[in-house]
Amino acid sequence: MKRLFALFALLAMLCGLSAPAFADEAVPAAAAATTEAAAVAAAPAAAPAAPAAVPAPVPNKGDTAWMLTATLLVIMMSIPGLALFYGGLVRSKNMLSMLMQVFSIFALITVLWAIYGYSLAFTTGNAFIGGFDRLFLKGIFDPATGAVANAATFSKGVVIPEFAFVAFQATFAAITVALIVGAFAERMKFSAVLLFSALWFTVAYLPIAHMVWFWAGPDAYTDAAAAEAANATAGWLFQKGALDFAGGTVVHINAAIAGLVGAFLVGKRIGYGKEPMAPHNLVMTMLGASLLWVGWFGFNAGSALEAGGTAALAFANTLIATAAAVLTWLAAEWMVKGKPSLLGAASGAVAGLVAITPACGWVGIGGGLIIGALAGMVCFWGVTGLKKLLGADDALDVFGIHGIGGILGALLTGVFNTWGLGGTGIVDYVNNTIVDTSISSQVWVQAQAVLTTLVWSGVAAFICYKIVDLTIGLRVKEEDEREGLDTTSHGERAYNQ
């Protein structure tokens, strides 16, 4: 524990040392924008001899506003959405611990993202991990000119302020790590949760995010030679052509397999299989699921990085596919178990959201409907039949929903992306046109992305759990688990009458 505190103290000092520099450099946002605009406006006048020079792109205010809004929506998904969704599903003696774990992980990962996470995920390095060019987010804000660097989107000549992209992606990293805690809920030490989160974020989330999402941006693809050079700097799975619009592999499969490994390694809860472990408050779970659904519009439509047609397509798919998943989950539950439940409806919604996440900007509405409808049924099997087969105490069914839904969505993205099934195809940035994809080859690429994520994240999680187990231990004492983590780990109760 002392070493853990020493590490945190060191990190805090580093942040503290860097803070005055940022404070000194800070200028009002309006001033920065004015400077940028002035620089762009002055460019043609300053260089009359070079009329062909293309002015540097300026962020569109609508795009920027949308990305900041989308970021807020994803924050709402995590806290309070995911926290309430998970919190309602555990026993009342562990409610506060669930809220606390999600809340703390969100804060921890956000800080690590600013220190080194963003740099390792979204700067040029090799095909598997980025570099240190943006360590402590350096270089994004230029105090000399007051300018903020821009980040590429998916359209040539369209950019957003890089800080908006940094914040948006920070929320993805944070919610991904927070998703894992549902698998080992009600029995893990709080310090172990934090240490595992920091380790897994570093060795699993960052490489997978880099492999799937990092590329040089569309403006680098001017001709075939330039495209080849740009592609060589992209992430390994991006180079292969894997399609993951908003994080089916990076977020859901990644977190789910880490959770499943954790459920095996941490072990079953005391009394699991012998006494019922009923959710203590399904009202909270329904509220959490609803916040997740609303927030997911930021997650999916925000991943377009622009406020345009692709964002609207992702938005519509997120709405419609999710509704289909609710209905099919309820139908399956009604037929198999005799009654449709509120927890089933909430779970169906999350399953649909997970499955449509990688596909939402790549498939048409028909494809989205089928993906959502299948997700409701397949994930219902994931939390019942598959759960029994696996035999692990995945307490809140992280793998059954996020893993199975993520795999289904990732593979079906390859199916429904083709024009023949109403999909969007993909952009050919060299010829500035849209091209169709072949189902068989795209599904194979998608399968490679799924397998890579499962293996990489699973092995990384195993190593991280073992490190935590050997240093501070994974599990609370038996009497603490019986008493509940609210009082034994945090000295508070969720409910005081």
Partner: protein
Amino acid sequence: MTGETERLFSATGRVYVLLRRETDRMIDVEWVAADAAYAREVVQLARTTGQPELAELADRIENLHPLLRHEAAPVAATPARPEEKYLNSLR
């Protein structure tokens, strides 16, 4: 206290009230939970009254009591309590 223990105490409490009303006999609610032999006697006593509610509570105590559960006859035609479905899975 687990949900199951809570329900055992709740059922035994109702048996206490009904037995006292029907037969003027009083039982030790806490001892029912702690001692299998005493619990068995209370279950039998409740059944011998012939009172339907007491008979149903006797079945329930047998099913809820961790020390008697293996002796309990399977309860047929009674609606499943919601909690039972959470024994091995959440959903």
